[in-house]
């Protein structure tokens, strides 16, 4: 039981780290650039919000199948299969939680006062300096919310990780799937405990999100 919880936590942690790196440029482009395909990109990022997880899982399986481009490349590089592995689950989770990382950051970037960005220009900052000395400090709260939501959402996955991971004990059987199997096998007390722990994790993560939101609302931007 603890094994499955550890896998869940590890999956959530790895996914969140990767997501923060990937979501940053996506949110930047969506917030600051206008280009053809802007709406299309926004829609693609938001798709996991409405797609049935099994649909996403199905496509991810197609993408990472041993004979697919990505699957065979992975096999040559690491001599292992991407499907039904922890890495495969990470890949799927990154896609699944992408909107939870991108959207808070995008909103935070958009809320940056225009003349702070103009200041970056008049002071001669390059894009990297602008990012690290203005954009990120100004949207610290949004980045933290993105991290907390990505983590919590990844912890709560079920359909995607079941399809892509295949519930292999000790490898891809995460807590939410373990709980399902416990209930099926009528292991009441274990199910009760695991459910409580998952509830606690979600509660803590959401408390973090709401206290960040509250403090930014109360104190005003960036104070």
């Amino acid at each position: 039981m603890f094994e499955s919880l550890l896998i869940s936590l590890e999956l959530a942690l790895v996914t969140t780290c990767i997501l923060l790196v990937i979501a940053l440029p996506v949110a930047y482009v969506l917030a600051f650039k206008s280009f053809r395909g802007h709406t299309a990109l926004e829609v693609i990022v938001a798709l996991p919000l409405v797609l049935p997880p099994t649909v996403l899982g199905y496509y991810v399986l197609l993408i990472i199948a041993p004979h697919s481009m990505l699957g065979s490349a992975w096999h040559t590089l690491f001599d292992s299969s991407l499907a039904f592995s922890f890495s495969g689950m990470v890949f799927a989770s990154v896609l699944y939680s992408l909107p939870f990382a991108v959207q808070p950051m995008q909103q935070a970037f958009r809320a940056i006062p225009r003349n702070w960005l103009e200041l970056a220009k008049t002071q001669g900052l390059n894009i990297k300096q602008t990012l690290f000395s203005i954009i990120l400090p100004a949207s610290k709260a949004g980045v933290l919310v993105a991290a907390a939501l990505s983590f919590a959402h990844t912890m709560g996955e079920f359909g995607v990780v079941l399809m892509v991971g295949g519930s292999i004990p000790g490898e891809t059987k995460v807590a939410s799937i373990a709980l399902f199997e416990m209930v099926e096998m009528q292991q009441q007390s274990e199910a009760w405990l695991l459910a409580l722990m998952l509830l606690a994790v979600s509660f803590v993560m959401l408390s973090v999100v709401y206290s960040i939101n509250r403090s930014t609302l109360n104190v005003g931007m960036g104070k």
């Binding site: 003349n115 702070w116 220009k121 008049t122 001669g124 100004a138 931007m221």
Partner: protein, 223 residues
């Protein structure tokens, strides 16, 4: 005349039409709200999309005919907004040196003494009064040794006696750096005391400018 600005552009209901030459001198710009004063400064800085031609210090900043726009970051202007644009997570000292690589301790010390903000260096901007924040913003614009200063109502929140001293600082800076300084101001005293040229704007047009027969500080014979 060293510098040249020619702007012709539609801005909503306003047609901005400015054609002027000037030296390394102080130009006070006045006029009613909505006359296009701030927009003029923003166009010169490259913060507002402009059409026309701008040549400063024998460098081309804008040439719509040739589809050329020099990015703001490369114009090296010192810009002061009418509102508070200090970054709240940086100290006053860090705000002033934003975007400068090496610290020029002598110039820095002189500047903070002159602008009477030395005692505020370790403070965060949120602890400052409006007038103090204005002087910090002026220090930031001056400290980067700009090729041109663009000040939008920089003294509006200063007490009268302090204004007198700040005008001297500005004159001093102008003589030291040999740059053109644009200053939007509603205070007639600024025009009387500071201006080598006084531009009045109405509905986007430059009315006949009053040139004060004040000797120019440059030693190149224009005086």
């Amino acid at each position: 005349m060293k510098h040249h600005i020619q702007l012709n552009m539609q801005l909503g209901s306003l047609f901005l039409d400015v054609h002027a030459d000037f030296d390394n001198e102080i130009i006070v710009v006045s006029g009613e709200n909505g006359a296009g004063k701030s927009t003029l400064l923003r166009c010169i800085a490259g913060l507002h999309k402009a059409s026309g031609k701008i040549d400063i210090h024998q460098q081309n900043w804008l040439d719509s005919g040739a589809d050329f726009i020099l990015p703001t970051a490369q114009r090296k202007v010192g810009f002061v907004w009418p509102e508070n644009v200090l970054l709240p997570w940086l100290t006053v000292e860090e705000n002033i040196s934003l975007g400068t690589d090496e610290k020029d301790i002598l110039a820095f010390e002189k500047l903070v003494m002159q602008l009477e903000i030395k005692h505020l260096l370790k403070h965060k901007p949120t602890a400052l009064s409006t007038g103090e924040a204005q002087r910090v913003a002026l220090a930031r614009a001056l400290y980067r040794k700009p090729s041109m200063l663009l000040l939008d109502e920089p003294f509006s929140a200063q007490a009268p006696d302090l204004r007198d001293r700040l005008r001297i600082v500005l004159q001093d800076a102008q003589q030291q750096m040999q740059i053109p300084i644009f200053m939007v101001s509603h205070d007639l005293e600024d025009a009387k005391v500071l201006a080598h040229q006084h531009w009045r704007m109405r509905e986007g047009k430059l009315l006949l400018e009053v040139t004060h027969k004040r000797s120019l500080p440059s030693s190149e014979g224009e005086a």
